[in-house]
Amino acid sequence: MATLATLEGDGILVRVDVPLPPRTQPWRRIYGSQGFIVWLETALPLIPREWDALVEPDQQVYDLLQRFIAGEPLTWKKEFHPMSPVGHGVWELKTPDTRIFGWFAVGDCFVAVEGHDASRVKKHDLYPGFRDSVVRFRENLDLDHPKYVAGDDRNAVLSVSD
């Protein structure tokens, strides 16, 4: 069995860092699958801006990840929420034009498996497919149990920095 650190060392998970504002220390962690990292690098910059009047999708994700890592409060349902059925422990991070699917390995530690264009996810109802993809990815990891934070309690997955 492995820890997140072991999986990171093996290159199965990659820690995602974003430059933080002055006087800010990291509070939460986010890891990505190799597929998620490829999405950040190649697909995200190509997603058209549709639901935000001012900010491009890569800027939206940049701001979301920055505030996530800095431990700032995120808006329930607008920026994060559990996917149904909640028993799977799969969560969605959201910006107006993007969706990020993954799970909380422990509180304040999110593992992102998939990212996608929000409009396509909604138009083609891709939610079940991405949820199942997260579950399959997690099941195939030789990760110590419990592998994820169960339930839909927002306070169990996110704390807020002082």
Partner: protein
Amino acid sequence: MPSFQFRISPRRAAVARFIGDVRVALQRALAEEEAKRGTTKSEVARRLGVHRSAISRRIKGTDNITLATLAEMAWAMDRDISLRLVSHETSVGANEFQTTTTQPPGLEKGSRTVTFTNQATKFQPVPR
């Protein structure tokens, strides 16, 4: 295994952060006003003579919020806007661990550059 550094140009990052700051400040101010004084999104919309959905779109970012509409939103929530332009000279290296800090007055750890100050608390009379 090295981490993945997700970066965009500093210029675009600054835009993303500032606009994010404004939206977060609006959301928090509205939530606080609703909790303290019962000022709902509908009430803000009524004061401004617009539909409730217009307020939602401004906060979500679907609509382009101008400085004028931002000021109107603050007015409708009985709030003043506090905006600071902070010199980079006071920010460089501030992410790193320091044994001493020399932060400018009023700039707390990780604080935002945009806030909405409640007028009721701002103009409180001094107790005699």
